[in-house]
C-alpha cells in the first residue's frame, strides 16, 4: 500500500506558498520546509508498560530559510494559520530583524554565501509500506509484546525482566520554494528486545533490535528474539575481562556498520570541510583502506530507516561511493556547504526536526560485501575475537581516532571458537590503520537502523549502517 501524504500539509500548502512569496519580496532566497509526522511507541516489560504517540521523529511544524546580503537566516514556528500567511511573514521578519539589530550592535561579521539555485522540481512521492502506524491495532500489539516479554524472562536462568519496545512513524515532509514543490511520505519502524539478568549483584543487558522502512508489520520479527536475547544476557554474566592488546578480530555486520559510520561517515561530512574540521579533505584520491574496502553512503541505494526521496533542503537522494577499493573518492554534502565548497550537494542535508538547523548528515552508510564465509574467516585466526553487539561509537574526524564500545567478544584460537567470552570491549585505533588491516569480507549484507546519530553531542537523526563480517586487526581494551 502507499503511505498517503498528509492531508494537513496539502491543506496548508497554498498558505505556505503565499508565505514564501511574501518573504520573497524582502529576501534573495526563500524556502519552506513543513512536516507532519505521526506515530506511536509501545513499551512493555514485566514491571512497567507505556503507550505514547511521540517518537523521536514525530513532529508538526515549519521552518523558513531566507537569505539576504549573503547571510542565511531561519525562523521556525508551529502556529501557522494558512488563512493569514501575512501574520507569520510579519512575525518572521520582526524576529529576524531583532537578531540583525543585535548582530549590528556587536559588530558581528558575516560568512557570505551565494544564493542557492532554485531549479524547478515538482515531486509527490508516496512510498510503499505494508501497513500504516495510524491503522495499527495497539491492543493486539500490547498483547504480542507482553507474550514476548514473558518468554524472555522464562528463557533466562537469571533473567529478572524483559523489555520489548516498538515504534513506528509515518513521516510526511513538504518542501517549497518559488520553483519547487516537493512532497514525500514514508513509514519506518524499529523494535527491540532487552533481557535484564542479575547474578551476584551484577546486572547485565542482553539486547537485539530490528528496523526497516516498513510499517508495524516489522514487529513480527521481534517474536524470534526473546530466547536469543536471554541467551546473550546469560553470556554477559559469565563474561571475563579482556587482556588489553592488539588482536585479529572478526567484526559482525552490526559492528562493520559502526566502523563505517564512525570511521569515514562523520569524517567526510563536508560541512566539516568548510570549517577545516576533517582530515578527510586532504585525503581525497588517496589510500585510506585496503583494496577490499568500498563504502557507499546515501538515502537512495538501500531501503532502510534513513531512506528518503529528498533531504530537508529539497535535494534529491543520492548514492555516493565514498571509498572505492581503499581510495577515498569524495564526501557527502548539504546544499549550503556545497555552495561554499563549489561542489554538488548529495542529498545529505538533514535536520533533527523542523526546529533545528540543517547539517551534513549520514543516511545509510554501508561497506560492500566480499566472497568469504564466516567459517572461512574464523579458520584463519590464530588468536583473536569474533566481536558482536555494539553499545556506542564516537567519531574524531580531525585526527581519525575511533572509539567503539562493544558488547562481547568470542575468543578464537587456532581457527576455532573456544567458548570463552569477554565483555565489555573498548575498540580504539587510527582509522586508516584499522581499514588498512581489513583482509577478508564475508558475503553477508546486513543493515541496522535502530539507533540515532548525533553531531558532536546533539542533533539526533535517524541513520542506518552495516555491511558484511570483516576481518581486521584492532586494539581492544
Amino acid at each position: 500500500m502507499k503511505a498517503v501524504f498528509s492531508p494537513y500539509l496539502d491543506a496548508i500548502a497554498p498558505g505556505l506558498k503565499q508565505l514564501a512569496a511574501l518573504l520573497g519580496e524582502k529576501y534573495d532566497y526563500v524556502s519552506v520546509l513543513s512536516t507532519d509526522s505521526v506515530g506511536f511507541a509501545v513499551s512493555i516489560s514485566q514491571r512497567a508498560k507505556a503507550v505514547n504517540h511521540s517518537t523521536m521523529t514525530t513532529e508538526r511544524g515549519s521552518v523558513v530559510r531566507v537569505c539576504r546580503g549573503g547571510l542565511y537566516s531561519e525562523y521556525a514556528f508551529n502556529r501557522f494559520d494558512p488563512a493569514h500567511p501575512e501574520r507569520t511573514a510579519a512575525e518572521a521578519e520582526r524576529a529576524l530583524e531583532e537578531q540583525f539589530a543585535l548582530l549590528r550592535a556587536t559588530d558581528s561579521a558575516v560568512y557570505e554565501t551565494p544564493v542557492l539555485p532554485d531549479e524547478p522540481c515538482v515531486l509527490r512521492e508516496e512510498m510503499e509500506t505494508g501497513s500504516m502506524p495510524e491503522d495499527c491495532d495497539l491492543g493486539a500489539l500490547v498483547e504480542r509484546f507482553t507474550e514476548i516479554s514473558a518468554r524472555g524472562v522464562a528463557a533466562g536462568e537469571h533473567a529478572i525482566d524483559c523489555h520489548v519496545r516498538g515504534q513506528s512513524t509515518h513521516v510526511c515532509k513538504l518542501f517549497l520554494t518559488a520553483g519547487r514543490d516537493m512532497r514525500q511520505s514514508y513509514v519506518y519502524s524499529e523494535g527491540m528486545v532487552a533481557v535484564i539478568a542479575s547474578k551476584d549483584g551484577a546486572v547485565k543487558f542482553g539486547f537485539d533490535s530490528v528496523s526497516g522502512r516498513e510499517g508495524p508489520e516489522l514487529f513480527g520479527k521481534l517474536d524470534e528474539l526473546a530466547e536469543k536475547v536471554a541467551g546473550i544476557a546469560e553470556e554477559l554474566l559469565v563474561a571475563e575481562r579482556i587482556e588489553p592488546g592488539e588482536y585479529e578480530v572478526i567484526v559482525s555486520p552490526e559492528i562493520s556498520g559502526l566502523i563505517a559510520h564512525e570511521a569515514f561517515g562523520h569524517g567526510v561530512e563536508m560541512d566539516m570541510f568548510v570549517k577545516n574540521r576533517a582530515l578527510g579533505a586532504q585525503y581525497i584520491g588517496k589510500r585510506v583502506g585496503s583494496d577490499l574496502v568500498t563504502m557507499h553512503e546515501g538515502a537512495k541505494p538501500e531501503i532502510e530507516v534513513a531512506s528518503y526521496a529528498f533531504d530537508d533542503e529539497g535535494t534529491l537522494a543520492h548514492d555516493t561511493v565514498e571509498i572505492r577499493n581503499g581510495i577515498l573518492k569524495t564526501g557527502v554534502c548539504d546544499a549550503l556547504s556545497a555552495l561554499r565548497l563549489g561542489v554538488e550537494p548529495t542529498g545529505n542535508g538533514k535536520r533533527e526536526n523542523f526546529e533545528h538547523k540543517v547539517y551534513t548528515r549520514m543516511t545509510n552508510t554501508v561497506f560492500e560485501s566480499g566472497e568469504s564465509t564466516l567459517e572461512e574467516m574464523i579458520a584463519t585466526v590464530k588468536h583473536g575475537y569474533l566481536l558482536r553487539g555494539m553499545q556506542s561509537g564516537m567519531e574524531d574526524p580531525k585526527h581519525w581516532g575511533i572509539q567503539c564500545i562493544l558488547d562481547r567478544g568470542y575468543e578464537i584460537r587456532d581457527g576455532k571458537l573456544t567458548g570463552r567470552i569477554v565483555s565489555p570491549i573498548v575498540m580504539t585505533g587510527y582509522v586508516p590503520e584499522l581499514l588498512g588491516s581489513i583482509s577478508m569480507l564475508s558475503r553477508d549484507h546486513e543493515l541496522f537502523g535502530s539507533g540515532f546519530c548525533g553531531k558532536g553531542h546533539k542533533e539526533w537523526v535517524k541513520v542506518s549502517d552495516g555491511g558484511p563480517y570483516m576481518k581486521a586487526k584492532a586494539r581492544l581494551g
Binding site: A48, S54, Y75, R79, A95, R277, K458, G477
Partner: protein, 429 residues
C-alpha cells in the same frame, strides 16, 4: 493552549489527566571562525497530554496511561478525537494502581520573562573577548539561548507555571604547530550566560589544545590511578545518582537499599549526594518536575549510605514514597583532601575523552583517551590514545574527592576525583 483542551479532558471519561504546555522562544547563532554562518529564531509551543484510566482484570486493579502531543493549532474536533483515542489506549496498559501527584506546596510566581537579546548579547561578546594566538584559536561555535515558559495542569488540581532560561554553547578550538593541527570540542550548558566563566573556560581549552600538540602515545600502564577534573566526572557521580532512581530500583537494575552502604569502606571518601531545588545559573531551575511535583532539597546518599530514593510518580509510589519528585540539580559534597593533595604521586589526569561512559547498571567505565597528563613524581608527560576500563563497583570503595567543588550547569561536584587502579590500555605498539 486553547480553553477547549481542558474542557475536553474533563469530559473525556478519563480518571485523571495532565497537560504540559511549553512555550519556547529560542535565539541561535552559528559562527565559523569569527564570521556568522547562520542566525535562527524558534517560536514554538508544545502541548503534551497524558490521560489515565482505571480498570480491573482477573481481580487485579490497574491504572493505565497514554500520552501524545497535541499540535497547538489542532481544532476542537481533532483534540476530541485524540483524547478519545488516548482514553481507550490507556485501558491497554496494565500498570498497578498508583495515585497521581496532588497539588503540593506554594505554586509561587512564574518568574520574569527572559531578556533573550541581553542573554544572547552576553554570549556574543564573551566569545568575541576570547584571546587567541597564532598557535591556538577558535574554529567554530554555536550559541543557543532559550526562554522557556512551562505550565502544568492536572486533574488533581495542579496548575503551575514557571519561566526560566536554558542556554547552551558548543565550542571547537584548534591548535597547530609545524603543519600539525589538532581539535578540541566543548559543550557548556547553563541558565543564562556566565560571560567571565565562559571566557576563562574557552581560554583554558586553548591552552590544553597547545599541550595536545606535544602529546605522545599513552603507554600501556596496566593498573593506574586516574584523576578526573573535567565535566566527564559527572558520569562518575551519575552512577550513584541513577542507582537511587526509584525506576532503577523498582525494575531491579539497582539493588541499593536505603540505610545500607553503597560501597565498602576501604579508605576512600564516602560519597554524599543531594538534590537541590535551585543551583545558581542552572538551566534546571524549574521549581517543579515534569509531572508537577515540587522540587526541593533532598539528601539522596549521606556518607556512603543510601538515604532517599527519588523519581517519577509511578515508580516512587510503587516504592512507597509519597512526596517524591524528579530532581533537576545535584550536588556532591567535597572530600577530605585538597585538589593539590589528590594530584600527587603517580597518576594519569585525563582532560579529554572521545566519549567517557559509566554504565549505571553494572558500573563499567569506558572511554578512549584523547588527552591526558601522566604524572610520575616531578615528571609530566602529555599523552593521547588508548582507553580506560574497570568498574565503579570496585572504584567506589577507594575513590578520593577533593574538598574544592566545581559547577557544571546542574551539577556541583568535587573539582577533582581520583579513582584507584583503573585499567589503562596504551596506544603504543
Amino acid at each position: 493552549m486553547e480553553d477547549f483542551v481542558l474542557e475536553l479532558l474533563k469530559d473525556s471519561g478519563a480518571d485523571g489527566w495532565m497537560v504540559t504546555d511549553e512555550l519556547r522562544r529560542g535565539w541561535e547563532f552559528y559562527f565559523i571562525r569569527r564570521a556568522l554562518d547562520q542566525n535562527r529564531v524558534r517560536e514554538v509551543e508544545h502541548l503534551g497530554l497524558t490521560v489515565y484510566k482505571k480498570f480491573s482484570e482477573d481481580g487485579k486493579d490497574f491504572l493505565g496511561s497514554a500520552s501524545a502531543q497535541l499540535p497547538p493549532t489542532a481544532s476542537r474536533a481533532e483534540a476530541q478525537e485524540l483524547i478519545g483515542a488516548l482514553v481507550e489506549e490507556a485501558k491497554l496498559i496494565r500498570n498497578p494502581v498508583y495515585s497521581l501527584n496532588p497539588p503540593r506546596g506554594d505554586a509561587g510566581a512564574a518568574g520574569e520573562e527572559i531578556d533573550l537579546p541581553a542573554v544572547a548579547g552576553d554570549f556574543l561578546r564573551a566569545m568575541q573577548s576570547v584571546e587567541e594566538s597564532a598557535e591556538a584559536d577558535v574554529n567554530s561555535y554555536e550559541i543557543f539561548t532559550d526562554s522557556v515558559t512551562r505550565r502544568i495542569v492536572s486533574s488533581t488540581g495542579i496548575d503551575r507555571t514557571a519561566v526560566f532560561p536554558a542556554s547552551m554553547i558548543e565550542v571547537v578550538v584548534n591548535a597547530r604547530r609545524e603543519g600539525h593541527e589538532i581539535e578540541l570540542y566543548r559543550m557548556y550548558r547553563s541558565g543564562s550566560c556566565d560571560a567571565a566563566g565562559l571566557k576563562a573556560e574557552v581560554e583554558s581549552t586553548l591552552r590544553i589544545g597547545r599541550d595536545k600538540l606535544r602529546a605522545v602515545k599513552t603507554p600501556a600502564l596496566g593498573k593506574c590511578d586516574v584523576v578526573f577534573s573535567t565535566a566527564d566526572a559527572i558520569q562518575i557521580y551519575d552512577y550513584f545518582i541513577d542507582r537511587m532512581d526509584a525506576g532503577m530500583v523498582f525494575q531491579g537494575i539497582s539493588d541499593w537499599k536505603c540505610g545500607e552502604r553503597v560501597a565498602p569502606d576501604e579508605g576512600g571518601d564516602a560519597v554524599t549526594v543531594r538534590a537541590l531545588r535551585t543551583l545558581e545559573n542552572s538551566s534546571y531551575n524549574c521549581p517543579f518536575d515534569g509531572e508537577g511535583a515540587p522540587r526541593r532539597d533532598l539528601t539522596i546518599i549521606e556518607d556512603g549510605v543510601a538515604k532517599s530514593y527519588y523519581g517519577r510518580r509511578m515508580f516512587a509510589q510503587y516504592l512507597g514514597l509519597e512526596d517524591s519528585f524528579d530532581p533537576g540539580n545535584f550536588a556532591v559534597d567535597g572530600g577530605s583532601e585538597s585538589a593539590a593533595a589528590l594530584r600527587t604521586g603517580r597518576y594519569l589526569e585525563i582532560v579529554e575523552f572521545s566519549d567517557f561512559q559509566v554504565e549505571a547498571s553494572d558500573g563499567e567505565i569506558a572511554g578512549e583517551i584523547r588527552l591526558g597528563y601522566l604524572h610520575d613524581g616531578d615528571t609530566v608527560t602529555v599523552v593521547e590514545g588508548g582507553s580506560v576500563s574497570g568498574t565503579m563497583r570496585e572504584f567506589a570503595a577507594t575513590m578520593r574527592l577533593s574538598k574544592e567543588r566545581r559547577q557544571y550547569n546542574n551539577y556541583l561536584i568535587p573539582a577533582v576525583t581520583r579513582l584507584r587502579g583503573v585499567t589503562v590500555t596504551g596506544a603504543e605498539d
